[in-house]
Structures are given as C-alpha cells and as structure tokens.
Symmetry: C2
Subunit: 227 residues, 2 copies
DNA sequence: TTGATAATATAATAATACAATATGAATGAT
DNA sequence: ATCATTCATATTGTATTATTATATTATCAA
C-alpha cells in the first residue's frame, strides 16, 4: 500500500491507513487480535478519539470488529459490506452508465478466453451454467429473474478463476442491479432474454471464442437502451 | 436501505444510518450541506463524539465530506475509494501473480478497443505516447525506467477514457512495481523493451486492433518469466 | 476595486471520566 | 472432579469539556 506519499487531510484517515498497514505487515488473518485502542493511541501518539474514529471507519468496512473486553479483531474482508455502502452512494450520484457498461464488457469479454479453456477441461462447468439458466426460466417475477441473471454473470467471471476480476465485478454489480431494474420497468416482458444466455454458453462449450465474445457484447448492450 | 429493522450493536452505527436516512429523506444531492456536527448531536440526542465517529466513517466511504466552516457536505462517487478498499482486499488474500497478470492483460487488451477509436479522432494522443516512450529511452537508471514504463501503461488505460478501468489499473500497479523490480534484477539490461512500446502504439495509430492486442499480450507476458 | 487583515464559525484533536459488557478466573455445589 | 455460577477485570462504548486549526466572511486600507 503506497498510501504514505499521498496527501492526507486528517489524522484519523492517516491512522486508519496505518492500522491497515499494521494488519498487512504483521500478516494478521481474520479473527486475530490487534492492540487495544489505548495501545494504538500510544503507538501512534494520538488521542483515543482519533483511534476510535479510524477503527469505527474500518469497522464499517468490515475490516475489523470490536467488542468490549475482546478488543479489536481483524474482520472478514468481503465485498458485500462495501457494495452495500456503494449502493447507497450510487443512489445519490449517477455515474455515467456508458463507462460502467464498457468496463463490464471488457471484463466479461476478457474472461471468456479463460472460461473457454476451463470449460474444455471440465464439463461440469457447462452443466452448472445450464442449472442457472433453468432457474432463469422458472423465475416467477422480475426480481427473481434479476437475481439469477446476476448470478449467471458472476458465474461467468468466476469460471475464469481469476479472483481479482470477480472482486471487481462484484463492485460493478451494484450499478447494474439498478440498470436491470430500470430496463425491466421499460420492457415489461422480462423473460425475453433467456435464449441469449444459452447461446453464450453453447458457443463456449463448442470452443467458439470470438462468437461467444460477440454474443456477450450483444447481450450486455441491452443495458444501453434505457437512455 | 432497510437498515432500521436490523439489530444494531452500537450508537455510532445507528447514527450513521440515521444520517444516511437524513440524506435520502431530504433528497440531498452531491455537494449539499448537512447540519453541523453539533446540530446533529442535538437532533439525535447523542454526544458529538458519536456524531464524529459516524461522520468520519461515512467520510471514509466518501459518502460525505467535511471541512471547517463549510461543515458537512454530501460526497461524490470516487472510484479511488473503491479501489483503495479493493487494494486492501488484494493485499490480505495474496493472489498469485499469474492471476494478477491475467487480470492486467484483460484490462489492457480490452481498453485498446476504445483507445484505437479515440486515437483515430485525436492525433494528439499518439504524440503523447511518443513523448512517454522517448522518456523511456533517455532513462538513466532502472528506477526511472520503471516509472516511465508504468506511466506508459497508465496512459494506455487512461486513453480509453474509462475511469473505472484506470482506478482498477492503479491498484494493480502496486503489485506490478514489485514484479518489474524483480524482472530487472534478473535481466539486467532494462532498456531492451523500448521498441515493444513503439510497436504497440504504431499498431494503434494504424488502426490494427488485433495486432496491437497481440503485441500487448506479448509485452505483458515478459512478467511471467520471474517464476 | 483590490488586497490584506481580522473576526468567526466549524471541524479537528485532545484529555478525562464513567458506563456497559464480554471474558476468563475463582468459587461453590453436586 | 466436573459443571454451573459468580465476580473481578480488561476493554470498548459514550459523554463532557476544552483547545487548536482552518476555511469563510467581513472589514478596512491602499
């Protein structure tokens, strides 16, 4: 983390950074104990209030937990926490959807190259996709359909086995949930796109990379409509 | 945000929730002013410390900003925040270099499609790249070379004008700096690759997308060696 | 008008005190 | 000896108060 060089406004952010560094440098894992608030205060030479502000902020992100007597412990870093907040964020400001869409296309199109290899070696992957698609078909309402659609796209990235991509994709999904909802409001008939999903994975199964990539592009460009 | 029903451990989380609600209910937009810390303290009937912990945490997430005299204001979406968090995530779970490399390839290869369009419309971009490459050539030592190499790759992504990609790329750069240093230790002659850069941007200028993509793949796969 | 300067509002930090609570040890009952 | 209970203690949680830093606004002089 090259956070040190960057200008930092206030102490608590600085401290939060240092606490993160502390975790990394001591290679603490989830559940491990950190120094107490008081010890941190002494270690960094700041008041306990500042330590609290920092730990609170980190706590919000799930980076650490705190409890009386137990003290501070390293939390589980998961995307859900952050996406929850981002979701709020994005409710306030609308980020240019076109850029998000392009980002997503790049990720998915890029992932396909890996997915196609993995699928060739492991037929199980194909049937997993079939499973998800069948849940798409049997969805009772739009909300359920959206959930399964998101699941499908996540599975696609996951199948590439490149976890940084998965993490990034999870973040983007926050935006896309909104898009999906908007789209469905407009186009009413939400089941229309099931075949599109099937075409993609069939192309992958048959080793037709460029075709699959083209299909994904087409599929994703549906989100463009609601302008 | 249906946060109200959920069990909440401590006051500051509760307060943070209420502040979020406040923003929504008054439909505040980015840059709008919130009550002062003191007013919030009175409004919610808690101490100012609690308000601070909450606002700090929200500030940390970019949901609001604070400055003396100006007070609290609603923040704007900042991809940097997101990636900062992701960066921590990556640091904790040390992803194998191979996956990071693949991620990077996907980003850059994907970005090229946009870059090529932008370049066709704006010749200035090409000469900017030429400038960076010439600094590569005149680098005096390995460290300087690395800096300019990173600059080149960043400029490549930046030229796509897709900021989420840029943010994500910056994040990966932390790791790649390490890679680069390792590589250079091994291969000694660090100026060897300048022509590779030139080929890439020339291909882009000539509108040869697939060729440029192939060149990038080749270029990046240099990092694979130091296994 | 312009530029500097002072006043003021507000966040930033600190010190301190006490309350609440989970943990683990000590105690006691069976 | 084993299990449950109690209790002391460490640590976070909350509150109060004071001081400092800083950005905005108002004032005044050139």
């Amino acid at each position: 983390m090259n956070d040190k060089t960057v200008k930092r406004k206030n102490l608590s952010e600085e401290v939060a950074s240092r606490i993160k560094s502390y975790i990394i440098e001591n290679s603490l894992r989830m559940g491990d104990r950190l120094p107490t608030e008081f010890e941190f205060a002494e270690l960094f030479g700041v008041s306990r209030v500042i330590i609290r502000e920092a730990t609170k902020a980190l706590g919000f992100l799930g980076i650490l937990n705190s409890a009386p007597k137990r003290g501070l412990t390293v939390g589980e870093v998961d995307m859900k926490r952050v996406t929850q907040y981002l979701g709020f964020h994005f409710a306030l400001n609308d980020y240019p959807r076109e850029k998000l869409l392009k980002t997503r296309m790049i990720l998915e199109v890029g992932a396909l190259g890996e997915v196609i290899e993995k699928m060739a070696r492991d037929p199980e992957i194909y049937s997993r996709f079939r499973g998800i698609i069948s849940t798409l078909e049997t969805s009772r309402d739009a909300d359920e359909f959206i959930r399964h659609d998101m699941e499908f796209h996540r599975a696609l990235i996951e199948a590439s086995d490149i976890d940084p991509l998965v993490a990034f994709n999870d973040l983007l999904d926050v935006f896309f949930r909104r898009f999906r909802e908007e789209i469905l409001e407009v186009q009413g008939d939400w089941k229309v796109n099931v075949q599109g999903h099937r075409n993609i994975i069939d192309a992958l199964r048959d080793g037709k990379l460029t075709e699959a990539q083209e299909l994904i592009r087409l599929h994703l460009s549906n989100y463009k409509k609601a302008d």
